[in-house]
Subunit: 406 residues, 2 copies
């Protein structure tokens, strides 16, 4: 059994880096707070006697040696947050991994295979796109050079320059990790487990994610003197495309999700027609074919409304991840160990993208979810009860022990 | 006939105060550049032998005495600009007024009634809202104390403090000006005259203007894990309200205009449902009843979409000006004098708000428009040809002479 109090202590300590007044954390990837959180986490890993390696995209992997030199069993997640994030998203999986190792240390135990605890660079995608960048590059899903050249949405700095600046441009290679398996523990970030009164989510896979950025370029002009027919209103094109997303999602129903979280108008003045609008579209579905169809529909609408208004249109694909199914045997293992611990379980898909979906490309992978209070995440009021955090970490311990002793 | 070269000289000289690199002017109301522009204009007025008075809201009125002590005929406009304004908006009307007086001086003439040239405080509304503040207060449409307490959107300074600081908190009373009539010369700021190849716009009135600010407060949450039915998406409420504005404007047709020029989402991230959206709505119509109906429809839609989504809704009315019809006889006088000068004319409404619409509350009022190249205004590329500027000023001269000699 893991030590729930110690796990909570580490979570709170990590939450100090980038802490927001009134609760929550702002630890955008590769910023100063992320650097401080990384340094602190690395020190924790070293204090547990783990060997720490940093790869070329800044992923940090700490190894707790096994009794044999076999491909390791890996766990972990991320410690970057969104601008107004909580204490648990990602951090929980990393701190629980360390707690598993601390528990083994306390008991003087080693597993047959090495155990690895990792945190991956820029999982959130809030400052650099795509999300899950570190794990994606690690498994060879994105060329390293391309990732290093991505620019921050806040200050335009590149991933490569920021890694250098904060001291996390490591030497370990990326592209083909030699891992036996990967298990990620995470908060659900949604309302399902809480609403159904279930303690452990047995994650069968991750829904498909499509992220697009649309830029509309029109002409700025006077709101009072320019007849409707002569306008090239970039803002209206963007906002009508957002309304189209809402309409499409209602029409598709089922598991189709659609969000327009970001929109920037220029010059953004009450009586000036917007010359430019840059918007994002986030579409998700567990059904890959439906997701492709939704993406095509939204794109076609945006293109057409731009053409009708004499507005230039540009489209960047920021993320494009097909749905992922996790390893059936490892998923069963999660379910069985949770049951053996007397915990109720529910098989479910993950709504959020996770590093596990990238690792699933190279090794058997599974995830464990614990409930999120009120389903809140990417919100400073994100919360999971201490007893639930402890339950999830105990499931992780058991699954890792079984797998690492095989 | 006025002297076109001298008019252009004064316009260019005034354009030096707050000049932007690469052209255009930034002379936001009551800032340092506005003070410099005011001082220079007052000196021009005094050099023409005019008596200059400053009222409590900073409006400057210069009087060229008549042969009799009758209520004066007033012309003028404003010399404040938007942040990226041109050389003509407002300035043209004031400099043309001075050119009319200079022409009379040259000829050693005086009219029966005194002639007044005024410039009004904060016509643009770019730094302090509402727009047309000086003329609105002058005619008693807004209490002086309320106007003096309005805060700047840039640095929070009040109108009252800024007037003191730049030395334009004058002693002349506001509320009930004793004026025979008011005629304002202005650039069209729209494309109609140029497109129709007409030299002089005979302005019959100003369309109604409704400015609203809507604030939607929802809940920030994860775009991937939050089922559509459980969202409180403030951004989607705002953008669907914008789409409703577009739909309504298309349905109303005619002279209904609708613009959503400003929208701010928080936290404005790709995969976070927006917790807050603040948007502006600018509705205009020459038909006051239709405008009220449009305003009510948009408000009702916003309220309902907020309620449907469990999102809080707040509404601020930033400006609310009913359509204004100018004085029929004075409008006819503009048309006849333009015709007598051999200029082509078009009767038209004004799309933009102007000081003339406030003066129309207390005396017979009319406006004269000259073409704007490509219909551009509130843009550093704002332009009107020198010959057109001269034509407009000659129409102004004739209309003022007729009226002031009655
Ligand atoms: N787990 C998580 O919040 N990932 C960020 C990417 C996403 O939006 O799903
Ligand atoms: N003339 C002018 O641009 N006025 C500003 C107010 C408006 O019409 O938007």
């Amino acid at each position: 059994r893991i030590n729930g109090a110690r796990l909570l202590q580490r979570l709170k300590a990590l939450g100090q880096f980038g802490a927001l007044e009134g609760g929550g954390t702002n630890r955008l990837a590769l910023g100063d707070a992320d650097r401080a959180g990384r340094d602190w986490t690395v020190a924790q890993m070293q204090a547990l006697g783990m060997r720490v390696q940093v790869d070329a995209i800044g992923n940090v992997v700490a190894t707790y040696a096994g009794t044999e030199d076999l491909p390791p069993v890996m766990t972990g997640s991320h410690i970057d947050t969104v601008r107004t994030g909580g204490l648990y998203d990602g951090n929980y999986g990393v701190m629980a991994g360390l707690e598993v190792v601390a528990t083994l240390c306390d008991a003087g135990l080693r597993t047959r295979r090495p155990l690895q605890v990792a945190f991956f660079t820029n999982e959130e995608g809030a400052r650099f796109q795509p999300d899950m960048m570190g794990s994606l590059v690690m498994v060879g899903g994105m060329p390293l050079e391309e990732a290093l050249a991505v620019r921050a949405v806040d200050n335009g700095a590149t991933v490569g320059a920021e890694l250098q600046r904060i001291g996390y441009a490591g030497g370990a290679p990326v592209g083909a990790p030699q891992v036996d398996s990967f298990v990620e523990l995470h908060i659900e970030q949604g309302p399902v487990l809480e609403q159904q009164g279930v303690e452990i989510g047995v994650v069968e896979g991750v829904q498909g994610i499509c992220w697009m950025e649309f830029t509309f370029d029109g002409t700025s002009n006077h709101a009072g003197t320019t007849p409707m027919a002569l306008r090239h209103d970039a803002g209206m094109c963007a906002m009508r495309t957002a309304a189209c997303v809402a309409e499409l999602v209602a029409r598709y129903g089922g598991r189709q999700l659609g969000t327009v979280g970001a929109l920037q108008l220029k010059p953004n003045l009450i009586n000036v027609i917007a010359a430019q609008a840059v918007m994002t579209v986030d579409l998700r579905n567990t059904d890959g074919a439906k997701l492709l169809q939704a993406q095509a529909e939204v794109l076609a609408f945006a293109r057409q409304i731009a053409a009708e208004n004499g507005v230039r249109f540009a489209h960047r694909q920021l993320a494009d991840f097909a749905p992922v199914a996790f390893d059936a045997a490892l998923v069963r293992s999660v379910e069985q160990h949770a049951g053996a611990l007397g915990l109720s379980t529910l098989r479910m898909p993950s709504g959020a993208g996770h590093d596990a979906q990238m690792l699933a490309r190279v090794c058997p992978t599974a995830m464990v979810f614990v409930p999120s209070a009120a389903g809140l995440s990417h919100n400073v009021r994100e919360h999971t009860d201490a007893v639930q955090l402890e339950q999830g970490a105990n499931v992780l311990l058991q699954v890792l022990l079984e797998r690492a002793n095989r």
